[in-house]
Amino acid sequence: MAEITLKKIFSDTGVRSAVNDIMTSINSPMSVLDADEEYLLGADKNGSALRFPIALSGCVIGWVTGTEEARPVAALIDHLARREQERKSLAAETLDRYKEISLLYNFVDKIALCLNLNEVAKLVIEETRKNIRSSSASVMLLNQRTRNLEILAASGRESSPKMTLKPGVGIGIAGTVFFSGKAEIVNNVASDPRYIKGANRVGSMMCAPLKTRDRVIGVINVSSEEPVGYTAGNLKLLHMLTAQSALVIENAVFHENKLKEERIKSNLERYVAPQIVKAIMDSKENIVFSPTKRNITVLFSDIRNFTTTCEQQPPEKIVEHLNEYFTHMVDVIFTHGGTLNKFVGDMIVAFFGAPGKTDQNEKRAIESAIGMQKRIKTIPAVWIQNNFHTGIGINSGEVVIGNIGSPHHMDYTAIGDEVNTGSRLQSMAKGGQILVSRSVYEATKDLFQFKEIGSVQVKGKNRSVEVFEVLY
C-alpha cells in the first residue's frame, strides 16, 4: 500500500478548506507541516514553541505548530489521517477482490468455449502464472488406464512432460493432494518428506486438486525455485482457477474421447453393419484388434467368368457395375450382421463373429449367402442380373484374426487353414451355388436344406473336405 502523506490528505479540497476554516476560527497562529517540514496550511511561520505530531502506525507524517490552541487541530488531522489509512486499506482489499472477479470473468470467458484439452491446460497455466509468482507450473491428469498422474501441460523450468506419478498418501506432494482432494501450500519443499526431487530445484510450491462433481481428475502445481512464502491468498486464487478449470478440463477430456470414438466408429462402419458397430461401441469388454485365435465363419463370394463376362464392356462401365453390385452385396452382409473383410477384384470376403463376438455365425452366413444370391436377381441394372453369377463358399472354424501387416500398412484380416478351405469351396461353386463345409452343415442342418456333394480333394490340402450345397 502506498504511503499516506499529509500533502495527499490536504490535496482533497474539501479537507483543506474545512481544516483551514477551523484554524482561522480559532484565531491563534498555527500551521500544518508535512514530514519534510514543508508548510501545507496556516501562517505560523515563526516556529512556535509547541509542535504537535501527527503520526500513523508509529511514524510521524507531519506536525501542527502553534500555541496550545493548535492541539485539537492536530488531533483532528490525526483522526483524518487514520480514517484515510483505513479507507486506503479497505480500498486495497476491495481492489484485490475486484481483481479476483475480473480474473475469473476473463478466465471463464477464455476457457469456456475451449474444447481442446491441451489448449485448456495451457490457458490454465498461463493465467495461473500471470497471477501467482512462480518459476513453473503444470497440470497433471490421472491416466484412467495406468492410474498414474501424468503431466498434460507445463511451463517454466520444471516442465518435464514425461513425468508420471502414482498418486497416494505420502507419495509426492501432488500425489497426496490428488488423494486427499485438499489444496496445499508447501513453502519449504526441501524439508517435506513427501517431495520427490525432480531435475530442477523447487523452493516453495502450491498444489490444488482438479475436482469435478464427484471425483478428483488431476492437480495443478505452481512452484518457485526460490522460497517465496506463498500465502493463503495465493492458494485461494489457485483454488478459484482450479475450480473453474476442472469442469472445462473434464469437458475437454470427454470431447476428445467422443472424437476418438467417432473416428473408430467411422472406420468400423466401413467394414461392419451399423448395429454391430453400436454393439461394439456399447460393449463393456475390450474389442481386440491384435491378432488372436477366434472361432469364426468366413464367406467367400466370386463372380463366375468375370473377365470373360466383362470383356465387351468399357472399363468405366465395369467399375460402375461392380460398385452397384458390391453396394447391394455389402448391404445384405451387413443386414445379417457380417463384417466386410475385403474386396479382391470381384471377390468379396466377409466374416461372421469378428471383430465383435456374435452367435449363430454359420446360420447368419448362410442367410447372408442366400440373400446375396436372391438380391442379384433384383438389382435394377438388368445387365448385372443377366451377367453376374456368383459362387459362394462358407466355412467355419478357428482362425487367427486381427490387424496383420507391416507398421506402414495393416489390414484387419483372418489367416488359417479354415480360411483357405472357405476360399476353395467358393472356387468350386458354380454360379448361383452356395457350398459349405461339414462344420457349417453340422451347425445349421436343422435350419436349411442341404444336398451332400461328397468328399472333395481341394487344392493345397492333404485331407479331403466334405462339401454340402445349400438348397434355397
Partner: protein
C-alpha cells in the same frame, strides 16, 4: 502535471479506480474524481485532464453526452476518453464511435489494463 479524471456515479467504482491508479499517482499524476456527467464536464473544462475514465450509465447526463460535449469543445477535445460499460449491459458501440470515444472497457474492468492504459496515454515509464 498530468491529470486523470475518474467519472462514475457509484462511489465504490470511483474508489476502485483510484486505488488501481495509485501506481500512476505515485508517478506524480493527479487523480480527479467526478460523480456525475455535469460534474465531469466542469472538471474537464476546468482542469484539462489528459485522460478520462468515463462511465456510460449515469443519471442526468450519461457518458455518451459527456464524451460528445468534450470532443465538440476545441479547448479540451484532445482529451483521451475511455468509456466504461458494464458487462451484460447493452452497449451501442456505434454510438460510442459517433461521440468520439477513444476506447471502451468492460466492467468488471481489469485493473492492470486500466493502469497500462494510463501509462500508455500519459507516456509514463514503469
Amino acid at each position: 502535471m498530468a491529470k486523470i479524471l475518474i467519472v462514475d456515479d457509484e462511489p465504490h467504482i470511483r474508489m476502485l479506480l483510484e486505488q488501481a491508479l495509485e501506481e500512476v499517482e505515485d508517478k506524480g499524476v493527479a487523480l480527479l474524481k467526478a460523480e456525475n456527467g455535469e460534474q465531469a464536464l466542469d472538471a474537464v473544462r476546468q482542469n484539462k485532464p489528459n485522460l478520462v475514465f468515463l462511465d456510460v450509465m449515469m443519471p442526468k447526463m450519461n457518458g455518451f453526452d459527456v464524451c460528445r460535449a468534450i470532443k465538440n469543445d476545441p479547448a479540451v477535445q484532445d482529451t483521451y476518453i475511455v468509456l466504461l460499460t458494464a458487462k451484460g449491459q447493452e452497449f451501442d458501440r456505434q454510438k460510442g464511435d459517433e461521440v468520439g470515444a477513444d476506447m471502451y472497457m468492460t466492467k468488471p474492468f481489469d485493473p492492470d489494463e486500466i493502469v497500462a492504459k494510463a501509462f500508455e496515454v500519459l507516456k509514463l515509464s514503469r
